[in-house]
Symmetry: C2
Subunit: 293 residues, 2 copies
C-alpha cells in the first residue's frame, strides 16, 4: 500500500496513510507542509491510519533546517487519565515545536503526560517506586507500584498515567489534560482518524499525525526575529542558577550535545541489543560487521 | 495614539499598538486574523507595545463564534523561574486555544506557570501555606510562605513562580518552562516587542500578544470534524470517574456554567468593589445606579 492525498487545499492536506510505515509517511507529510509554507507562508498536513512515527521533534526540526518554524504531534493508544477520571482516554501524545535560533534551535518535544510509558518501565526494571502524581491505580489514585501500573495498562482495565501536572488540580493536572486534547485535535480530529479512545493494537495502523511549517518571515525581517529568539535563549541560559544547580538548559540542548558525543564516540548499546541486531543482519544477509565496533 | 499595522502579508500582520488599551487593540488584531482566515484559511496577527489584554481565552473564543479554530497568547512581566534557575525570566504568559464543538466549544486557557500570581495573593490573604512546587524562594527552592514569595516578586529580587510541572524535572518542570518560551515566541519574538526579561512597569505599554485563526475546513468537511470533536469531548465527560469524584469536565465547561449562572442571578461583588465602582461612576458623571442591584 502507498499513502494517498485524501484532501488538499493551498495551505493544507490530509493524507490517508493506508497503514504504511510511520517514519516514511510522516517525513512525506512534513515535506508537503514545508513546501506549502515556502510558497504561501504556512502549511499544515495531517495523516490518518499510520504506524508509529518515532520521534515527534525530528519532523519539527525538518522545518527548522529550512529556516521555518515547525510543529509535529501524534496521537497514541489511550493511556492517560483525564483529571478526576480513572479510565485511560488520551494518549501520551507529544507536542513538538522547533524555532530556528543560534547557536542551536529551540526544540520542544514533550509527551502530554507527566512521564512517558517508557519511564514507568525503566523504574519497574530498577525496582524503584514511582514519584507521586506520575501514575494512577485502578481507582484513580496516585500509585507508586510500577509493576501494578504496567499490569493495569496491559490488561486495559482502569488506571494509567497522569497528564502533565499530575493527578490533582492543585498541581495543574487540568492543564496537561487539556494539552492532551489539543494533541488529539491536531492529529485525529483534523485527519479524520481514530481518536485515542478508539485506537487499537497499540496504534498499529490507526495512528494519526499532524504537522505544520510556518515561514516566520511573515512577521518581518527573519534575521531580526532569529536574533531576538537567540538572545532570549542565551539570557535564559545565563540567568541565575538555583542553589546547587550549575546549568540552565534550553530545549533541544541536551539532545544536541548527546548527538555530538555519539557522532564522535559511537552509540553505546547493550549486548542483548547487539545480539538482536546481528540476528536481523544475518536473516537479511547483510554485512552487519561493518556497522559494529 | 492609535494602533498601526507595522507589517502585513496575506496571512499575517504585526500591529504596533502605540501603548493603546489592551482589550481594544487585541480585539482589532483577532478580528484581522479572523478575516484573513476566512479568505485564505489561516491568519496570524501579533501585537507589540500594548497594555494588559484581559482574558486570553476571550479572543480565542471570538474565532470559534465564527466557526474557526482560534488561538491567543500574551507575554507578561517576568515572574516565572526556568527549571534549575532562581531568577524570574518568563511570564505567567497564558496559551489559549478554542475549537468549536457541540454542545459547547473546547476552550483551553492556561497560564504557563503552575498557578497564576493571583492564586498566591489569595492564599496570602487567607493565611494558607502554598502547595509544594508552586513558588520559589530566592534560592530556587520551593517555598510555602505566600507573603515571602510576594515580597520577593515585588522587590524584583530572585524568586518567583514555577512553570507548569513545578520546580523539578521529576514533576515535569521543563515542560512548563518550554511552554513559557513558546508563549514568548508567539508574542514578543514574532511581534518585535520586549521579551519577558525586558518588560517593565508590570507590562504597562510594552506587552506583546499573538493571535491566530484557522478555518478547520481546510482539513475536510466541517460538520464531520466538528462532530468528531464533540464526540471526543462527550466520551471524556462520560468516562469512568476516579473514586470520590462525580464529574469529569472538558475545558471551558466550568466557565460556561458560571457565565450562565451569572446572567440569570447576577454577579456577586464585594462591598469594597461596589464602592470603587460607585466612585468611578460619580467621577465620570455616569448613572451608575442603573447597573447595580
Amino acid at each position: 500500500a502507498k499513502p494517498e492525498v485524501a484532501f488538499e487545499t493551498k495551505l493544507s492536506a490530509v493524507i490517508e496513510a493506508n497503514r504504511t510505515m510511520g517514519q516514511a509517511t510522516a517525513a512525506l507529510a512534513m515535506r508537503m507542509a514545508i513546501d506549502k509554507a515556502k510558497v504561501h507562508g504556512f502549511g499544515a498536513v495531517t495523516v490518518r491510519n499510520c504506524n508509529h512515527y518515532g520521534i515527534a521533534g525530528y519532523y519539527a526540526k525538518m522545518a527548522a533546517k529550512e529556516d521555518l518554524m515547525g510543529g509535529s504531534s501524534t496521537n497514541t493508544e489511550s493511556i492517560a487519565i483525564p483529571t478526576f477520571g480513572k479510565q485511560p482516554m488520551l494518549g501520551t501524545s507529544p507536542l513538538a515545536l522547533c524555532m530556528p535560533a543560534d547557536p542551536h534551535d529551540f526544540l520542544f518535544d514533550a509527551a502530554t503526560t507527566v512521564v512517558p510509558r517508557g519511564k514507568i518501565e525503566i523504574y519497574n526494571k530498577r525496582g524503584l517506586p514511582l514519584e507521586p502524581g506520575w501514575a494512577s491505580d485502578e481507582f484513580g489514585k496516585s500509585c507508586a507500584d510500577a509493576q501494578h501500573v504496567l499490569d493495569n495498562i496491559s490488561r486495559k482495565t482502569f488506571g494509567g498515567i497522569f497528564p502533565i501536572g499530575g493527578g490533582t488540580e492543585y498541581t495543574g493536572s487540568h492543564k496537561g489534560y487539556g494539552l492532551g486534547i489539543i494533541a488529539e485535535i491536531f492529529t485525529s480530529i483534523l485527519a479524520g482518524g481514530d481518536t485515542a479512545p478508539h485506537v487499537k493494537n497499540g496504534g498499529m495502523g490507526d495512528t494519526s499525525f499532524g504537522f505544520f511549517a510556518l515561514d516566520y518571515g511573515m512577521f518581518g525581517d527573519k534575521k531580526e526575529i532569529r536574533s531576538r529568539m537567540s538572545q532570549l535563549l542565551q539570557e535564559l541560559r545565563d540567568s541565575a542558577k538555583a542553589d546547587g544547580c550549575d546549568r540552565i538548559y534550553t530545549h533541544g540542548e541536551k539532545e544536541m550535545e548527546s548527538m555530538r558525543d555519539k557522532q564522535v564516540n559511537g552509540i553505546p548499546v547493550s549486548e542483548k541489543t547487539v545480539e538482536e541486531l546481528v540476528n536481523i543482519g544475518r536473516d537479511m544477509g547483510m554485512k552487519y560487521g561493518d556497522y559494529l565496533h
